[in-house]
């Protein structure tokens, strides 16, 4: 049934004759279907190409770095001033704590925005159909998209944290010395956490199919809701906020040195909490994507 000839549209192409001769037959009609891993690799390559070819992707990355730089300079100068006013304050200064707050208040929202755009961008402009024609397995599309988002998330988290630590060292290096191990730990931890958040909001965005909605959920879940819960006088509600991904995340990447109250839990349990949220969001996103018309 299949045509074995070439696309052969040369006689009438605006670009002149012979533009397309002989192409099709060499493109491997005889090949069987590629392995699942290979197909996933190809889908990742597609998602990477799409993300990398949009300016907004790089804007998000740049914005995260600029935000962290401004935050670090501001905090550094503030702390230096505090120490000038009251030399005793010097003992409480921690670069890890300051930088992790920069991630919590600013950087993670660049990650949320980027994930929201990757996940929802195609649903507004019908672009989803061209993607799904190329990769009809929706689980594969979401997996590839999540992996690419995770890569960007890790890069943004780790790079912004490293930048913040570097700037603080320049500004108040004498007051808050950073040990190399701790610095590397927090850089990696915030990279991992931002990668997980990127996957989480790729899942949420896929379920919601709305960029604005996804970003709104991001602000609510990562910042708004935990803050309101901590405002409440009830200790139970206050402690419960620790199971939300925002507070659990900062507890993880600040290596316990958060600087504000999160919860009475420390250590790997916080990473597990973030992983749990991420898994839940991915499952909901995948289920919604599979069932709903594109």
């Amino acid at each position: 049934m299949k045509a074995t000839t070439t696309t052969g549209t040369d006689a009438h192409t605006p670009s002149g004759p012979g533009a397309d001769s002989g192409a099709g037959s060499e493109t491997g009609h005889g090949e069987g279907s590629p392995s699942a891993l290979r197909s996933l690799g190809r889908a990742v390559a597609m998602e990477w190409t799409k993300a990398a070819s949009l300016r907004t992707t790089w804007w998000c990355l740049g914005l995260a770095l600029v935000a962290m730089a401004v935050f670090a300079v501001l905090m550094g100068v503030t702390k230096a001033q505090e120490v000038t006013d009251n030399p005793d304050a010097a003992s409480g200064i921690s670069s890890t704590m300051l930088v992790s707050q920069g991630v919590f208040y600013l950087v993670q929202f660049a990650v949320v925005t980027l994930a929201a755009l990757t996940a929802t961008g195609e649903f507004s402009g019908r672009g989803a159909s061209s993607t799904l024609l190329a990769v009809p397995r929706r689980g594969r599309v979401l997996a590839a998209r999540s992996l690419v988002a995770a890569g960007f998330g890790f890069t943004i988290g780790a790079a912004a944290t490293a930048l913040g630590i570097g700037i603080l060292r320049l500004v108040i290096g004498g007051l808050a010395p950073v040990d190399a191990g701790g610095a590397v730990g927090t850089v990696l931890a915030s990279g991992v956490c931002m990668a997980l958040f990127a996957v989480m909001f790729t899942g949420i965005g896929t379920a919601l199919r709305s960029t604005a909605g996804t970003i709104a959920v991001g602000f609510l879940v990562l910042l708004g809701l935990p803050m309101v819960m901590q405002l409440s006088g009830l200790q139970v509600v206050n402690d419960l906020s620790a199971v939300l991904p925002g507070p659990a995340g900062i507890e993880f990447y600040a290596l316990g040195d958060v600087g504000f109250y999160t919860a009475p839990v420390d250590g790997p349990i916080n990473l597990a909490t973030v992983v749990g949220w991420t898994a839940a969001a991915s499952i909901v996103g995948a289920a919604e994507f599979r069932v709903r018309d594109a």
């Binding site: 049934m1 696309t7 605006p14 070819s53 019908r126 009809p136």
Partner: protein, 329 residues
């Protein structure tokens, strides 16, 4: 080869596609004709696995699209304007598709050349005209050199040169033995392109036949006569008519009679015989466009109204009613 069987898609109470059954065979251009909202795009999306059918099936080369191991090498599709992100360049859009499918990278430049977008390949799609976007969509459809091509309203937004180019392209693709399935809401466009027509109205199949057969069936000519004595003429035509043929007389406004089954000279002779005065007498051809619109939009109206009365609209502009049908190809 496309195989559609009892394909149905419901959204709540609305049935967008209603038990469609038809085949699209290779080696010819099959038109998919229907007014806007007739369910064409929905049917195409069901065929390509983008939407799920409520019931029935739509198969490409005997399999569901989502089950094809290498869909890009079997089917290429152009859907609403190509659907490329406005912030991405044409080249990046195609490159992403090539990477997803494992096709060789040179295919990007090849199809860009085929559709004539080489010079603007690195410009962002947001700045493209509708016609350029259509070309990009066609380029994407051709990437895998597929044996089946599905084009949803491919000439939308194209200028005359673009339209001619698309017609040639589809003709060549079909002549190479490929299956070409093209949707449109314009009968005039279909007349230029299609060998066979699948016609839908209100989600249902209205016709599935070779183009020539539909043209024969649809381009009914009739004779219109204006007379102050409609009574005697009608009686004469009913009683004696034309030997060997059935003559239908329909009463129009202002003493107009619309006669099917009798040529103007025969009606003139009848008027002479009946002693009816004739103020005007001419032959009127209903255009294919009209015939098709009546068939697709008026499925309900047709069966309800029966004879006479409400059909006056199609001859509205006085004696000019009914354009001359264009010649086929």
């Amino acid at each position: 080869m496309l195989t559609v069987r009892e394909l149905t898609k419901r959204y709540g109470d609305t049935t967008a596609v209603d038990a469609l059954t038809f085949d699209v065979r290779p080696g010819r251009v099959t038109g998919f004709l229907g007014p806007n909202g007739a369910g064409k795009s929905t049917a195409v999306r069901l065929l390509l696995g983008l939407d799920r059918p409520t019931s029935g099936s739509a198969l490409v080369n005997g399999r569901r699209y989502t089950d094809l191991p290498r869909p890009e090498r079997e089917v290429g599709a152009l859907l609403d304007g190509g659907a490329a992100h406005p912030g991405r360049s044409a080249r990046a859009h195609l490159l992403a598709l090539v990477r997803a499918t494992g096709l060789p990278r040179r295919r990007v430049d090849e199809v860009l050349g085929t559709v004539g977008l080489t010079d603007v390949a690195d410009r962002r799609v947001g700045g493209f005209s509708l016609g350029m976007r259509q070309r990009l969509g066609i380029a994407a459809a051709l990437l895998g050199d597929p044996g089946v091509l599905v084009f949803d309203e491919p000439v939308n937004g194209l200028d005359i040169d673009g339209v001619r180019w698309v017609r040639r392209l589809m003709r060549d693709l079909a002549d190479e033995g490929r299956t070409v399935f093209v949707s449109s809401h314009l009968m005039s466009e279909m007349q230029q392109i299609a060998d066979r027509l699948v016609v839908v109205g209100g989600g249902r199949l209205v016709a599935d036949a070779p183009m020539a057969e539909l043209i024969d069936a649809w381009s009914h000519a009739r004779t219109v006569v204006r007379t102050p004595d409609p009574g005697p003429l009608t009686a004469w035509l009913r009683d004696r008519g034309v030997p060997g043929r059935r003559v239908d007389v329909e009463q129009g406004p202002d003493g107009e009679l619309r006669i099917q089954g009798a040529r103007p000279e025969e009606v003139g002779d009848a008027a002479h015989g009946a002693g009816a005065r004739v103020h005007a007498l001419y032959r009127e051809e209903a255009s294919l466009e009209q015939a098709y619109l009546e068939l697709t939009e008026g499925t309900a109206r047709h069966t309800a109204s029966g004879s006479g009365g409400t059909r006056g609209a199609d001859a509205a502009p006085g004696g000019n009613g009914g354009e001359k049908t264009e010649e086929y190809r």
